[in-house]
C-alpha cells in the first residue's frame, strides 16, 4: 500500500479523534444521562446517520460485496429491505419510545424493557442475552477492523488490531454516546462518498449499467435474476422473506439501535430523521452489492469474494481515492464497533451491575464502572480476536438474527399494544432467542428453507400474543404504565407531573414540590 493511502487513513483517524474530543468538551460525560444518551439532545440528521451507520457494519463492505459477486442480483433482496429499515424503525417506534423512555426515566434500552414490563427477570434475561450477543458482535468488528488495517497498512495483524481497538476505545471513553453519535455522523458521510466513488469508477470502466448487465448476461444470465446463480434460490420464499426482514423489520429488535430513539432531542425528531435515513439508504445501501455484482466482470478470477470491494477500489482508483475508500471501510467497521462497545458496557454496568449487584451506586460511579467495563470488554475482545474465530460474518448474522428474534415483539408491543404484559414479553424473548439459535445450528434452514430470523420472529410474536392474552387476569399491565402509554400515543407535551415523577433530571424539583405540598398539608 502506498504512503498516500496511509496518509488518508491517518487523517481520517485524526478527524475521528478530534470529533470525540469536541464531544467531550461539550460536557457529554458529566452525568449518566449525558454519557449514555448524550443528554437526550441529538438532532434529526445525526440521529438518522448514527442509526444507519451503527446498523451497517463492516458487513456492508465485505459481506455485501461478496454476496453480490457470488450470487448476482439475488443479493439485492437484502438491499431493498434494508433501504426502508431506518424510516420503518423511526416511524413505528421512534416517537413513542422517546416519550415513554423519558416518562419512565429509562437510560438504556434494557432498563426500558424492565420498566415497561415490570420484572427483574425481564432485565436479567434481556441484559445477559444482549451483553453476550453484542460481545460477539463487537468481537467480529474488532477482527474485521484489524484485518482491514493490516491489509491497508501492511503492519502485522496483532499490531493492526491493537490500533483499531485502541482508537475505538479512546473516543468511546472521551464523550460516551455523544462522541459515538457525532463520529458516526462523520463516518457515515465518509462511507457514502467512498462507496459512491467506487460505483462511479466501476460503471465508467464497464461503459454504464446497461452495458455491464448485458456483459453479465453473457457470463451467466441467471446472475441477473432475483433467484441467484443457477437459480439456486428459486421458489425459496422463506429465505427471501428472511433476507427482506433481517435489515428492515429486524432493526426494531436490536437494543443498540433502538437506543437512538431514546437519545433524540425531541419526539418529533423522528420525522426528519426518517427522511434523512431514507435518503442516505437510497444512495448507500445498494452500492456495495452493486460493486460486488460489477466485480464479476472487473475481477473474473477473484478467489475471495469478500475482498471484491477492496480489490475493485485497488484496481480502478488512484491512490488518494483508494485511501478514502479504505477509510470508508474502516468507518463502517468502527462506527458499529464503538456503538456496540458503549451499549455493551452500559447494559452490563447499569442493567446488571447496578441493578443486581450494587443498587446504591452514584451516577459518577456508574460512569466510571461503565468505562471500566468498556475497557475490560475491549481487552477481552482483543485477546479473543487474536485467536481469530473461524468466520466473522457468520457471527454477525447469528448475533443479529437472535437479537431481532428475541426483542422485536417486545419493543414494538411496548408502545403499540396495551395488553402486552410481563409474562408475554419474557416468554417471547426466551422463545425468539431459542428458536433463532436452534434454527441456525440444527440444520432447519436447509430442510425448511426458512431463514432463522423469520422463524424466530414468527415464534416470538406468536408467543407474545398468546401468552399475554392468556395471562391478562393474573398479570395485568399496571395502571401507571397504561397511563403513560396513552400519554406516549397522544399528540402534545408530556404533562409535567409525569416527567417530574420519573425523569431523573427533575428528581430534585419533584422533591421540592413534594416538600412544599407536605409542609402546606401540615
Amino acid at each position: 500500500m502506498s504512503g498516500t493511502v496511509i496518509f488518508f487513513l491517518v487523517l481520517y483517524y485524526v478527524i475521528v479523534l478530534g470529533i470525540g474530543y469536541w464531544a467531550m468538551r461539550r460536557g457529554a460525560g458529566d452525568d449518566l444521562e449525558g454519557y449514555l444518551l448524550g443528554g437526550r439532545d441529538v438532532g434529526p440528521m445525526t440521529t438518522a446517520l448514527t442509526l444507519q451507520s451503527t446498523s451497517m457494519s463492516g458487513y456492508m463492505f465485505l459481506g455485501a460485496g461478496g454476496l453480490g459477486f457470488a450470487q448476482g442480483y439475488w443479493a439485492m433482496w437484502f438491499a431493498v429491505g434494508d433501504i426502508g429499515g431506518g424510516v420503518l424503525n423511526l416511524s413505528i417506534i421512534g416517537r413513542r419510545m422517546r416519550k415513554l423512555s423519558q416518562m419512565m426515566g429509562a437510560l438504556t434500552s434494557i432498563e426500558y424493557l424492565e420498566k415497561r414490563y415490570p420484572s427483574a427477570a425481564v432485565r436479567l434475561f434481556a441484559g445477559v442475552l444482549t451483553v453476550f450477543l453484542l460481545g460477539f458482535y463487537v468481537l467480529a468488528q474488532f477482527i474485521a477492523g484489524g484485518k482491514g488495517m493490516a491489509l491497508v497498512t501492511g503492519i502485522p495483524y496483532p499490531a493492526a488490531l491493537a490500533i483499531a481497538v485502541g482508537i475505538i476505545l479512546i473516543y468511546t471513553f472521551m464523550g460516551g454516546y455523544l462522541a459515538v453519535a457525532y463520529t458516526d455522523f462523520f463516518q457515515s458521510i465518509v462511507m457514502l462518498v467512498g462507496v459512491m466513488w467506487i460505483v462511479i469508477a466501476a460503471l465508467s470502466e464497464l461503459g454504464g449499467l446497461t452495458a455491464a448487465n448485458n456483459a453479465i448476461s453473457n457470463v451467466d444470465p441467471t446472475l441477473l435474476s432475483m433467484w441467484g446463480r443457477d437459480l439456486g434460490f428459486q421458489g425459496q420464499w422463506g429465505v427471501v422473506a428472511g433476507a427482506l426482514l433481517i435489515f428492515s423489520v429486524g432493526y426494531m429488535g436490536w437494543p443498540h439501535v433502538v437506543t437512538r430513539h431514546m437519545a433524540m432531542q425531541r419526539p418529533a425528531t423522528a420525522r426528519r430523521a426518517g427522511l434523512w435515513a431514507t435518503l442516505w439508504n437510497l444512495f448507500f445501501v445498494p452500492a456495495p452489492y452493486l460493486v460486488g455484482i460489477l466485480a464479476i466482470l472487473i475481477l473474473p478470477g477473484l478467489d475471495d469474494p469478500e475482498m471484491a470491494i477492496f480489490r475493485v477500489a485497488e484496481k480502478l482508483l488512484p491512490a488518494a481515492v483508494t485511501g478514502l475508500v479504505m477509510a470508508a471501510i474502516m468507518a463502517a467497521i468502527m462506527s458499529t464497533a464503538d456503538s456496540l462497545l458503549l451499549q455493551t458496557g452500559s447494559i452490563a454496568s447499569r442493567d446488571l451491575y447496578e441493578r443486581f449487584i450494587q443498587p446504591n451506586a452514584s451516577e459518577r460511579q456508574m460512569v466510571l464502572v461503565s468505562r471500566g467495563l468498556v475497557l475490560a470488554i475491549a481487552i477481552i475482545g482483543y485477546l479473543v480476536a487474536l485467536v481469530e474465530p473461524p468466520s466473522v460474518f457468520s457471527i454477525v448474522i447469528f448475533a443479529t438474527s437472535v437479537l431481532g428474534s428475541a426483542f422485536l415483539p417486545a419493543y414494538v408491543c411496548a408502545v403499540w399494544w396495551k395488553k402486552a404484559n410481563t409474562p408475554g414479553a419474557l416468554t417471547s424473548m426466551v422463545t425468539g432467542a431459542a428458536v433463532a439459535f436452534a434454527w441456525e445450528y440444527t440444520g432447519y434452514v436447509e430442510s425448511t428453507q426458512i431463514a432463522p430470523m423469520l422463524a424466530g420472529v414468527i415464534s416470538s410474536t406468536t408467543t407474545m400474543v398468546v401468552v399475554s392474552l392468556l395471562t391478562q387476569k393474573i398479570a395485568p399491565v399496571p395502571a401507571d404504565i397504561l397511563e403513560i402509554m396513552d400519554e406516549a400515543a397522544a399528540i402534545g407535551p408530556i404533562p409535567k407531573r409525569l416527567l417530574a415523577t420519573s425523569d431523573p433530571t427533575l428528581a430534585a424539583e419533584a422533591a421540592a414540590v413534594q416538600a412544599a405540598i407536605d409542609s402546606g398539608a401540615r
Binding site: 442480483y73 416517537r95 407535551p493 408530556i494
Partner: protein, 43 residues
Amino acid sequence: MFGLPLETSLVVFGFPAAWIIYTAVFLYRSRDWVKDSSEDEGS
C-alpha cells in the same frame, strides 16, 4: 430496464420506490408531531 429482466427491474426499482412513498406518507401523517416538542412547558 438497464438490461435487466422485468422481474429483477420490478424488485430493484419497485421496492425503493415503495420506501420513498412510505417516507412521504409518514412525513405527511406525522406533521402534527411537532406539538409534542414543548414538553418542558407541559401543564
